[in-house]
Amino acid sequence: MLRSAQHDNDTPRAAASSCHVSRIRDIMPVTMTNERPVRVLIAKPGLDGHDRGAKVVARALRDAGMEVIYTGIRQTPQMIAEAALQEDVDVIGLSILSGAHLELFPRVVAALKERGVDPGEVLLFAGGIIPDEDIPALNKLGFQAIFRPGASTQEIIDYVRRWTAERRAPVGSGG
């Protein structure tokens, strides 16, 4: 509840003064509650160095209470897939502005499969300069949402939250 009001400065203060019991719960480690943070990998495949968008999204998801792993620019599909494996993320967001998405995204998906990471178990989304005509191919590849210039960070947050809420029930029984 608290988290949806990310730009509302009054909310945390109001909550802090309202009830001591909730504060006691707040200072307990997260592991003592059933809630665990969503883990997201934000990565930039390919050679373009325009990382503003990736950083804005990483920051927005962090402010929405997620644990965001950011790997920096100029990542190969192998580096991205390996990071996704090691970090055991729930969500992978790729940012690309070079136009090489049809070249690179299939290679990211292939690299994930090579490592035994089922792209169907992870939420894949992308952002950047991606023309309309390329979207069906990316959807087919598993990128259900493509956020283009003009998309708000709130849309991205809502999208990730909706997906994880639907998926969350069986978490912890993985293997």
């Binding site: 480690p29 998801l61 644990e67 490592r115 029984s173 993985g174």
Partner: protein
């Protein structure tokens, strides 16, 4: 073992896959342990007998001292020496949003080409002291997976975030010429925990002075014991990394030869068991007193100044004991 593994269900299968070298199983086991799940506890129980092999190395120091770059460079050096490497990189959780931006990998992504290196980012999730709540347990999982060296990179630690020293065999403290003078270094905490002192960014002005000051301090502090080595590095260029790896390995050899390794591990086990017991007792206490309303009642009395906090804590414990 097989029978036991079957009895443990998913955790047993996961542990077996991990021990067989499956990196995905390793990643999943870390998640379960980090989240404090029952399955994670079961997996750790099965894996624990396979731990104790890894040399655990803590890397701590101020924000921007170059810990991530140094950790990455050290991993490269250790791979040249044919050591397999695990890295746990800790970054802070925002106390306001509970979110975290974990960026240590940026300086380590080159390492992902090498299957013998496993890097895991962790958020502090409200824990103080520079580590994440389950850091020690996650290190144990990497140890069980056969890593020869497991490095723990702390959050940017200031003066008393020294938790890592009680979790690692060897503690490396990273300082920079920009980080203040020797009086900063003389303050309690961070200096005392160092087994190896590193002045990183040693190409910056002032490095020589800082090194000289640190050497004077360590000589004074050693009182006849072996002095803490003070090394210079430029991690971005890989300079001084060979010497650093030598010093880290020499420290471990000294620990083992002197019997300190055994003593420290015993002390660590004691702290870990007591910390887990404390955690568990607190969990029970909150659960018991919250469900029957005692917690709200007692806390309310303190807020209204009808009861002092010490008496309140006693009453809370009595209430929990009575309610059991």
């Amino acid at each position: 073992m097989v029978v036991e593994a079957e009895a443990q269900g998913g955790a047993g299968e996961l542990a077996q896959r991990l021990l067989a070298g499956d990196r995905r199983a390793l990643a999943r086991a870390i998640t379960l342990v980090e989240n404090g799940t029952l399955e994670g506890r079961r997996a750790l129980a099965l894996l624990y007998a396979h731990t104790g092999h890894a040399h655990t190395v803590g890397i701590t120091g101020g924000s921007g001292a170059g810990k991530s770059t140094l950790t990455g460079a050290l991993a490269h050096e250790l791979r040249k020496r044919d050591r397999s490497v695990g890295i746990v990189a800790v970054d802070p959780t925002s106390p306001f949003t509970k979110g975290a931006l974990l960026g240590d990998r940026i300086r380590m992504q080159e390492l992902t080409r090498d299957p013998e290196v496993f890097v895991r980012s962790m958020a502090t999730r409200g824990e103080l002291g520079g580590l994440a709540p389950a850091t020690v347990e996650v290190v144990a999982v990497l140890d069980a997976a056969g890593k020869d060296v497991v490095m723990i990179e702390t959050v940017g630690a200031g003066q008393d975030e020294v938790e890592v020293a009680s979790s690692a065999d060897t503690t490396v403290v990273v300082l920079t010429p920009a980080g203040g003078d020797d009086v900063q270094a003389m303050k309690a905490g961070i200096m005392e925990v160092a087994d190896v002192l590193v002045v990183n960014k040693a190409d910056l002005p002032g490095a020589d002075i800082l090194v000289a000051q640190l050497k004077a301090l360590t000589t004074q502090a050693s009182r006849g014991r072996l002095e803490t080595p003070v090394l210079e590095t430029v991690a971005t260029r890989g300079e001084g990394i060979t010497e650093l790896a030598d010093a880290i390995e020499a420290h471990r050899r000294r620990l083992a030869a002197s019997g300190d390794l055994e003593r420290e591990r015993l002390a660590r086990a004691r702290r870990q068991v007591l910390a887990l017991a404390r955690h568990r007792l607190l969990e029970d206490l909150v659960r018991l007193t919250e469900s029957d309303g005692h917690l709200d009642e007692i806390v309310g009395a303190v807020a209204r100044r009808e009861l002092d906090p010490y008496a309140a804590a006693e009453r809370l414990i009595d209430a929990a004991a009575a309610g059991q």
